[in-house]
């Protein structure tokens, strides 16, 4: 007796979102990226094929970060001193797109120069995040947004306490935004409503549900992502944005990744452990519905790429 394969039939679909614009589309990117359009739980190709593979972003900063793990310093070397050089290195390391974090010390001129430098150095789509302080974020992101009109960058991070200015400038200049809420389905919906109420179309909003590293709260992020995807498939339009998560940022601040000496021997080889920490976190988040994983180490990029390629083989 043949077994009837149980297939879920959903009515909802996540938004198909394109990042980056080519010259023909009003930008300067040599390639664009499309994510989303999912009508199943992650990688359930036997129900309907997954239309777009999840993508890998590499995180770079516009000034050499002083507090990053030495392992990352070793991997990127002098490229970290200049965002354009770093961007090129990240492209060679296999990034599909880049996430550039601006820093508190930047002036608007610095920020624009960094962003322009990165855009000139690579043809990849770009996400630009402010340093995370309300006034500074708004000041820098508005300048960047205006100087890159039409590129379809993603600007962020929009949070409930600060989203209006970023959304307004993104709308005025043809960019997208990324909206972050702290591991909660209702808060994610609320922020999406606030942003779309300003007139931003659904296909220009990425959802960042916040994630924790392996061992530091991954289970909350993991389950919230599964719940958000289920809600999206059930037809809740406010949860249908593709998800971007930052396992690189989260894992490289953990002691497991940051510290090589004075830790238990049972933790094993430092570098291999740190890369596993990032890779395992990212892989688990792909399985729970991430469309963009933002990573830091080039070796993790290679490994997560293998995971994505295999998971996308129908």
């Amino acid at each position: 007796m043949p077994v009837e394969i149980p297939k879920d039939k959903w009515t909802g679909k996540t938004w198909e979102i394109t990042l980056g614009a080519t010259v023909a589309e009003g930008g300067t990117r040599t390639r664009t990226i499309t994510i989303g359009g999912d009508t199943t739980m992650p990688f359930m190709h036997f129900e309907t094929p997954t239309p777009h593979a999840p993508v890998i972003a590499i995180e770079i900063k516009d000034r050499k970060p002083e507090d990053w793990s030495p392992l990352l310093g070793e991997a990127w070397g002098d490229a970290m001193k200049d965002p354009a050089t770093w961007a090129k290195a990240a492209e060679s390391a296999g990034a599909d797109l880049l996430v550039l974090w601006l820093t508190l010390d930047d002036t608007t001129d610095d920020a624009v120069k960094s962003v322009k430098g990165v855009l000139n150095a690579t043809g990849l789509p770009l996400v630009v995040f402010g340093p995370g302080q309300v006034e500074k974020d708004n000041e820098l992101l508005v300048a960047v947004s205006e100087a890159t009109k039409g590129e379809k960058l993603v600007l962020g991070i929009c949070e409930d306490k600060n989203y209006r200015t970023i959304v307004a400038t993104a709308m005025a200049n043809g960019h997208l935004v990324s909206a972050r809420t702290p591991m909660d389905v209702n808060l994610a919906k609320q922020l999406h409503i606030l942003i779309s109420d300003m007139g931003m179309t659904h296909d220009r909003i990425l959802m960042d549900p916040t994630t924790g590293a392996l061992g530091y709260g991954i289970e909350y992020g993991y389950s919230v992502m599964e719940r958000l995807r289920l809600a999206a498939l059930q037809g809740d339009a406010m949860t249908q944005s593709p998800m971007i998560v930052t396992p690189g940022f989260e894992t490289w601040k953990t002691k497991e990744s940051k510290v090589g000496t004075g830790v238990p021997e049972a933790w094993g080889d430092w570098k291999e452990r740190a890369i596993n920490w990032e890779t395992l976190t990212a892989t688990a988040l792909l399985e729970s519905g991430a469309s963009i994983v933002v990573l830091r180490h080039p070796e993790s990029v290679k490994r997560v790429r293998i995971a994505i390629t295999e998971l996308m083989t129908a």
Binding site: S223, E265, W267, N276, W277, L311
Partner: protein, 442 residues
């Protein structure tokens, strides 16, 4: 899956004799479906109905227990597809593979036995060993060698029931898992498993094949079945594992068993780590790794702990007074909650700063600072109780505590609760603690 009240009603005598204490058989059936009464309340149920009702109340994924020498690993008994729906109950058993051709196998096992790693105050080890009969002649000796070095449950791998039986013979009184049954050898394997009361894993390249095998093997008297979904890549493995879990939850009995995966066969250590990760997150009861690699294991064991944590009950640390960087009697006392993530974000910052301090971990029902505060579980009274309960005063000379910036509002009440103590409000985020400790607290 449980039967509905109506389905149960059809199995009852339908005489409405009222002896069960309910006016009708249907009323009793409804109570039974809601698990508010026992079937024994009705003296007239037929034997046949009893069997059917017992089967229907069995868990959707059978609980399979492997036994070693005074040790056991239990997997199965799962009831949901997504952990937030309830929880995942029995943690994936993680096994390391040895080969019978291997030299000094006992030493290799001893090395793994010595392994333990601590996470959030919990000690993790591996669950057992899989022994593959790549050299059949040495199999029994290999099993003996492994058994001499460990008491943990074992998995025995061979496609030849004759070879496997030489290994099982060494393990009297135990319940190992036999791996290697497929469409070609199932009968001999099933006979061996039935005779020795071992659990048996079956593999086939489709769910049809697995279903067919599962039914045949069950008919031979094997109860503890484990399913190897195979799959040539992560995608196929994920699809099959998901389908198996879905079918099991729909009460499709032939696939209502735990799953085993073999990252050890992935070919290289990267693919192995990826399949192992997926298996822990997505439904595997057993995972067999190629070799002992602490740098992968630590992450996997932590992932397993996180995924199998009850979403309703966050991982907690034991409340108490924790010393960091060998504090002196005048080092600061920092107050936080017993939510493990909160504790570790604070402890890690202080630890990596090198500054000595005491961390007073208050019992806040395992919630973060603000969550606990909003829920009334982290207030002046609880903090004061912890200060007294853990006898902080006897360990310090300076009666001063620092509370998290997010709960600055508590400082007034706390001064009343703790007369004679200086209450300081710290920064909101733990990252800013080292600077605060250096600059603000002399």
């Amino acid at each position: 899956m449980a039967l509905s009240g109506i389905q149960i009603y059809k199995l009852l005598p339908q005489t409405n004799c009222k002896e069960c204490g309910f006016p009708t058989c249907l009323a009793f059936a409804m109570k039974l479906a809601a698990k508010q009464v026992e079937l024994s309340g009705c003296p007239y149920v037929s034997e046949e109905s009893k069997v059917q009702l017992a089967e229907s109340s069995a868990p959707p994924v059978r609980l399979v227990t492997l036994k070693g020498v005074g040790t056991e690993v239990k997997v199965g008994n799962e009831v949901c597809l997504f952990r937030h729906e309830k929880t995942f109950y029995n943690k994936t058993g993680i096994f390391v593979r040895m080969k019978s051709s291997q030299a000094d196998i006992a030493a290799a096992v001893a090395k793994v036995e010595a392994y333990k790693v601590v996470y959030v105050g919990m000690e993790f080890t591996l669950d057992g060993y899989a022994i593959e009969a790549d050299d059949p002649a040495k199999f029994a000796d290999a099993v003996k060698a492994v058994r001499s070095a460990t008491k943990r449950p074992l998995i025995l791998i061979s496609k030849d029931p004759g070879v496997l039986s030489t290994g099982v013979a060494v393990l009297s009184g135990e319940t190992p898992l036999l791996v290697g049954a497929d469409a070609t050898n199932w009968e001999g394997m099933a006979n061996l498993a039935a005779q020795t009361k071992a659990a048996l894993a079956i593999s086939a390249d489709s769910l049809d094949g697995l279903t067919d095998l599962s039914e045949k093997i069950k008919a031979k008297g094997v109860e503890d079945i484990v399913l190897d979904p195979g799959g040539k890549n992560l995608s196929e493995s994920l699809a099959r594992s998901t389908q198996i879990r879905r079918l099991a939850l729909k009460n499709f009995r032939p696939l209502g068993f735990p799953i085993i995966t073999f990252p050890c066969k992935a070919g290289d250590s990267v693919r192995e780590s990826l399949l192992a990760t997926q298996s822990v997150a997505k439904y595997a009861g057993f995972v067999v790794l190629d070799k002992f690699s602490p740098e992968l294991l630590y992450g996997l064991l932590v992932l397993r702990e996180n995924i199998y944590t009850d979403p309703q009950k966050p991982i907690q640390v034991t409340p108490g007074l924790y010393e960091i960087n060998a504090p002196k009697t005048d080092s600061p006392v920092l107050v936080t909650t017993n939510f493990s993530i909160t504790y570790f974000s604070v402890a890690n910052e202080v630890e990596s700063s090198g500054l000595p301090a005491r961390l007073l971990v208050v019992d806040a029902d395992g919630m973060s600072v603000l969550t606990a505060w909003a829920a009334g579980k982290f207030d002046a009274e609880r903090i004061a109780k912890a200060v007294k309960g853990f006898d902080v005063e006897s360990k310090i000379t300076k009666k001063r505590i620092v509370i998290p910036g997010h709960v600055a509002v508590l400082s007034g009440e706390l001064e009343e609760e703790l007369p004679g103590w200086e209450i300081r409000v710290g920064p909101r985020e733990a990252v800013d603690l080292p600077t605060f400790m250096k600059q603000v607290l002399n």
